[in-house]
């Protein structure tokens, strides 16, 4: 339903929301009591392992599993022929059909009594491959002579005569960019490249599947969306979704990478064939080779600016490769890249391209960081060329309420200007810099959305509350829901316990993505609490013998609405709960909604970096995030989201990349050579929470989890470019690349 509640929080004094109570999952996580995906065991459980293609591109002529099936201790072997459901890209990615499309693509799987036996069995599976030429670079894949992955996936938006690896074309914008460039005093055109990176979650994918002979199944899994897992896996197994019950474990990071399935359908099929539970856990090498990194990109950008800092036109052509199947996030990069700026003339073109790499998955504001990198880098260069202050130029051109976004709609109330003003006033901006040090600024934007949400709130007999919601907690949502329920009910935070219920307990819940949970699940929690309050007031009214309309709820108590209602002492929630059976039965509130009307979130990031001119090594000296949260329910968690996005962006900018050899195989499938930042690499990331309320949420909440990764690529690149004295146009800015740029500039 459309959200029709206005933002109600103006003038409201919150008692719980905005405070910083102890997180409810902290003790479990630091003591090892928390149960993650690999922490489940079942009686009779087998171990499942996947056989993966060693080739980047190969036709699978045949698979002979007979010797593996005959090995003692092997209870089931699965290949694509076991899946009789209609084929789609997700299924093909989970288990290859006619072709292996990337190094690591799953081609078969076994379930055995131990990992040792399972691994022996994999060696006995004979796959007859016809090795084909491969392509891993996005620009190479677009050439007419490039090896073709699919003959029939290009859609109607792609002009005739292009490689079949070009799947879709997008175009956005308004005005006349040529007229805009004609007005400019200074124009900069640049080409940029970014590498594919992985979300880097510490917990590999893991699940335990158990299917009974009656066709009912249970699945324990680490995921960002167990309802999605159920809805996707059940049809693949030819099951009704109601027969598959999925429980989400505690999750050790997702960031978008766990919004799809990889092992789960395979584990379920192995369990069906073996008649026993099957546990599957990926190694780190499996995770990097065969889950979903983000796209690598090749982007051309051109921006014009007047001497007074007015941006007259912006243009970009963006080529993203999303791995072996359609669906790179190029459209979001093309939509978001210029979103922070109110432009009369803007045009972006995006191309979705396939290559022989693993199928991409969402990574925190998918597609947007790369777009911000190129636009913000060129704005930075223009400011330098014209001698203009980088924050003042951004303020001058900033999107504000009523401005037409580069992707079409007019913005409502937004917080970009507030983040820029906060940045300008912050001591970081005026802190002195030393030799080989530079400061970089970037703005960033993400859309956010809501989606299907179901929440149930039960009032226990002792007056405590059990709150059930359906979204795995990847950012502190249990604490936030607990706080919102406590706020509405007027009871202590410690009286509410929030759990993530399994798929049989609640209605549909959209995946934990899109920065949606605090917004949508929060909204539903507030409404479920109000539903319970209505019922409790009704019970009090019965006890007092007065009309329901004559009862109000205040500070955790039902009270007569006024002197005419009667003189009755207030009834506490606990008192009402204790009498629930006597007054009509158990009391619970619930709310189900397709939450729409999420508010966008803008940010400004500021980074100081130092470059060692002899080695090209970069050190981040200082980093500050300024981001609009609408209303920060639990400020420490909001700050954590700001910091986490910034750190991932720093890794993306400086170190992380998928490196493919000439053979098309991933050369660095481990954390030793795929280098993510660790705590000792970085200073404390400072944070400033801006609150411009979202009118679509009762408390004004905006999602924050994704916008925080959009600015850092450019903020770091601008800082490094300033420190090095040369513009860096390729990420990551690893030491050899920085050194080469410095040496080239000197020569």
């Amino acid at each position: 339903m459309a959200l029709d509640d206005k933002h109600e929080a103006d003038g409201r004094v919150f008692k719980v929301v905005g405070t910083r109570p102890v997180r409810p999952d902290g003790i479990d996580k630091v003591t090892g009591r928390a149960r993650f995906g690999a922490d489940m065991s079942m009686p009779g459980m087998l171990v499942g392992w996947v056989l993966r293609s060693p080739h980047a591109h190969a036709r699978i002529r045949s698979i002979d599993t007979s010797k593996a099936e005959a090995l003692p201790g092997v209870k089931a072997v699965v290949t694509r022929k076991d899946f009789t459901a209609e084929s789609d890209d997700v299924l093909d990615n989970c288990m290859a059909g006619a072709k292996a499309l990337y190094d690591g693509h799953a081609v078969a799987a076994v379930a055995a009594v131990s990992a040792k036996v399972a691994k022996q069995a994999l060696k006995l599976i004979a796959v007859d491959y016809e090795v084909l030429p491969h392509v891993t670079d996005v620009d190479e894949a677009m050439k007419l002579d490039a090896p073709v992955l699919h003959k029939d996936k290009t859609d109607e938006t792609v002009p005739a005569g292009m490689s079949k690896n070009v799947i879709q074309r997008f175009e956005y914008g308004h005005g006349d960019v040529e007229a805009g460039f004609a007005e400019a005093d200074e124009i900069v055109s640049r080409s940029f490249k970014t590498a594919a990176t992985h979300q880097g979650y510490i917990e590999p994918h893991a699940c335990v599947a158990s299917m009974g002979p009656d066709g009912q199944a249970d699945l324990w899994v680490c995921t960002q969306g167990h309802y999605m897992v159920r809805n996707v896996c059940a049809p693949m197994l030819g099951m009704d979704i109601g027969k598959l019950r999925v429980t989400a474990s505690e999750i050790g990071g997702g960031f978008g990478g766990k919004t799809t399935v990889f092992l789960e359908p395979v584990a379920l099929m192995l369990s069906r064939k073996s008649g026993r539970p099957v546990k599957m856990v990926m190694t780190r090498e499996d995770v990097l080779r065969a889950t979903g990194p983000t796209a690598s990109t090749s982007i051309d950008v051109k921006i014009g600016m007047k001497k007074d800092g007015t941006i007259t036109a912006g243009w970009a052509e963006m080529r993203y490769q999303g791995g072996a199947y359609p669906g790179s996030p190029v459209q979001f990069g093309a939509m978001a890249a210029f979103a922070p700026y109110n432009l009369k003339h803007v045009k972006t073109i995006g191309w979705d391209v396939v290559t022989n790499r693993p199928k991409q998955a969402a990574y925190r504001a998918p597609g947007a960081p790369m777009g911000a990198y190129v636009v913000e880098s060129v704005i930075d260069e223009l400011c330098g060329n014209l001698g203009l202050d980088r924050l003042s130029v951004r303020l001058k051109n900033a999107s504000t309420e009523g401005a037409k976004a580069s992707y079409g709609p007019r913005f409502g109330k937004i917080g970009l200007t507030a983040t820029l003003e906060a940045a300008k006033a912050h001591p970081h901006y005026s802190a002195p810099l030393g030799p080989s040090q530079g400061r970089g600024i970037s703005c960033g934007f993400w859309f956010n959305f809501g989606g299907d949400t179901s929440v149930s709130l039960s009032v226990n007999n002792d007056g405590t509350i059990s709150l059930s919601e359906g979204n795995p907690d990847i950012g502190g949502s249990r604490a936030s829901m607990t706080m919102m329920a406590a706020e509405e009910l007027g009871i202590p935070y410690d009286s509410v316990r929030t759990i993530i219920a399994d798929t049989s307990a609640l209605g549909q819940n959209e995946v934990t993505d899109g920065s949606r949970v605090t917004f949508a699940v929060g909204l539903a929690t507030i409404k479920a609490a109000r539903d319970a309050i209505t019922k409790m007031c009704s019970r009090a009214a019965k006890v007092w013998g007065i009309d329901e309309d004559a009862v109000i709820w205040e500070d955790g108590h039902a009270k007569p609405a006024g002197p005419n209602a009667g003189k009755f002492p207030p009834m506490s929630l606990a008192e009402i709960a204790a009498q629930a059976s006597n007054t009509g039965g158990p009391i619970a509130g619930h709310h189900e909604v397709n939450a729409e009307g999420a508010g966008v979130s803008f940010a400004t990031h500021m980074c100081d970096a130092e470059v060692d001119p002899e080695t090209g090594a970069v050190k981040i000296l200082r980093y500050t995030v300024f981001q609009d949260a609408g209303k920060a329910v639990h400020p420490a968690y909001v700050e954590g989201q700001f910091q986490g996005g910034a750190v991932q962006g720093i890794g993306w900018a400086l170190n992380e990349e998928y490196i493919y050899g000439k053979d098309g195989r991933l050369q660095n499938p481990g954390f030793l050579d795929y280098r993510v930042p660790v705590a000792s690499d970085l200073p404390m990331i400072d944070t400033v929470i801006i609150e411009v309320p979202n009118p679509g949420h009762p408390y004004g909440v905006r999602g924050v989890g994704e916008t925080s990764i959009v600015p850092p690529l450019a903020a770091v690149a601008n800082a490094v470019s300033a420190a090095a004295g040369v513009r860096l146009t390729e990420l990551p800015m690893s030491p050899p690349r920085v050194l080469k740029a410095i040496d080239t500039a000197r020569a």
Partner: protein, 81 residues
């Protein structure tokens, strides 16, 4: 009638027009009538779209009302991570 903004690469289906008019009072009618009037847009609608109505993004809510003066922008399906 409501005016709907069409993104650049879809305009080949609307004879180059950046804005079209359809008779619709809610989201479902909007998408159905767009597909009927401009069959070239239907494949994209089938692949998935979001609709911005007065600056807010809607994904699936069929009965979201659209007023005559509303700003309506067709967008690719917004997802997240």
């Amino acid at each position: 009638m409501v005016k709907v903004a069409i993104w650049g690469s879809l305009r080949v289906a609307t004879e180059g027009r950046a804005e079209v008019e359809v008779d619709a009072k809610n989201l479902r009618e909007l998408l159905d009538r767009l597909a009927d009037a401009y069959p070239g847009i239907k494949p994209q609608i089938d692949r998935g779209v979001s609709v911005s109505i007065d600056g807010l993004i809607y994904n699936d809510s069929w009965f979201t009302p659209i007023g005559r003066g509303s700003e309506v922008v067709l967008l690719p399906r917004i997802v997240g991570g």
